[in-house]
Amino acid sequence: MRRQFINSPEDVVPEALAGFAAAWPHHVSWSPEPSYVVRAAPARDKVALVSGGGSGHEPLHVGFVGEGMLDAAVPGAVFASPTAMQIKAASLAADSGRGVLHVVKNYTGDVLNFRIAGELLADEGVRTEFVLVDDDLATDTDDPDAPGRRGTAAVVAVEKVCGAAAERGADLDELAKLGRRVVAGSRTLSVALAAGAHPGQSEPSFELPADEVEFGVGIHGERARERRAFGPTGEIVPQMTAPVIEALGLTRGERVIVIVNGLGSTHDLELYGVFGEVRRVLEAAGIGTARSLVGSYVTSLDMAGCSVTLVRADDEILDLWDAPVTTPALTW
């Protein structure tokens, strides 16, 4: 049985956003209608970075609004895309005249609404570019008509790296190119030990037998295509890491940013243990862990699980990764 601290399922998202904005008054401000979050002190004379998507993935995206990362985030209902009008309004609020970069995880609704918003903004004379984040290796197919790989934790790297470049004055085309480069060098695999439950619902969205894990799970409570044997991290983590290395074609001597991401209710103790195993796999393959981020950044409500993301790193990307950032969820 799952229960949550909520008033009612419909009010969860706006009430959380009100609390979030009250908790970070110097970082962000929240427009309730249409709903979006912008920096408390809007940036001037830079390309605006705007991202968004369904709620239930916090701290993504609202937690990444602030200097060095996003200018605005647009939260939809739980696991549902924000509307085009929300995105348009957020983009207009964030735009300082140099155009808007939309960072969009690859889900039909998100893509549709961000593309529509781009058309609406074009009509108002605002230039936008679109970086599609599609890092989830579990949904890789050859079918060109399929929706393609889902977007998951690599979005944090895209927002961080492009956010830093935007702060340094990169223009819209440069940023779009940079974002696409980060995406092209990023793949993720996720494993769930237990599904999360929607606010107000007592049952998790799927049940797993004690000896299996959901292998290649997404972040919206849907089942994965595959179940594999449960086991110690020393057995599970190599199965998550090796295919990512292979998909990226990483070779001895290359460096990566490692993101070990908790999917909601997985404890830091576990995540750091997982990170240790990822490092072992990388070391054995001669790949350097240039940077890392370990924690719950792209969640799926209270799902028990984690994802491993590798981001191919070069000096430019690392330099941008290291650049200062001041947001509710990420500050250095």
């Binding site: 009008m85 039909t108 529509i116």
Partner: protein, 214 residues
Amino acid sequence: MADQLSPVLADRWVRGFAAAVEDAGDRLTEMDRRSGDGDFGVNMTTGLRRALADLPDHPSSPGAPFQVLSDTFLSHSGGTSGPLFGMWFRDFAKVGAQVDFLTLGAVAEASQKGWATITRLGSAKVGDRTMVDAIAPATEALQRSEQEADSLEAGLRAAAEAAERGAEDTSQILGRKGRTSYVGEAALGVPDPGAVTIGLFYRAALDAVAGASS
């Protein structure tokens, strides 16, 4: 018989459409349940109810009621259909904003633009089991009527019938776009709710014009 759609008739068209969708709500949702995820009715009625409340008492142009529909759908409607219909209405709003009356030619133009928009955004082709399977024949019917210098009423009747036939035919099609592509054969026998809704849209136009003439 009105051969042009005044702002008042455009308003009547939009209100008639909203009423028709409201009436058909459960049936549409049931279609989406069989072929997708069952939220179609809610996605449509959420937008329509809000839009009705916001419709201007004295529309300044025949585009104005569509502008309200479009804005409301793009602001408040979820799913795939919500934003797509929002953009569909937007092309009617744009064409209607520039004229005092919508002629058959203007309706054909709006329909053509809307079809292009939906295709640009959703990349569905005819035969993919989407609203495009009603939009395409309806648009072609409007264009044919215009070329043949038919009356507005005749053109809208042709469009409505073409859309309804197109929608009906989707019940025999295997889905290739959107959520219905995941359910495959299970959807056979039920028409696509988006396509059915396009039928309701042109039927409401016809009723607005025909009602004005009687």
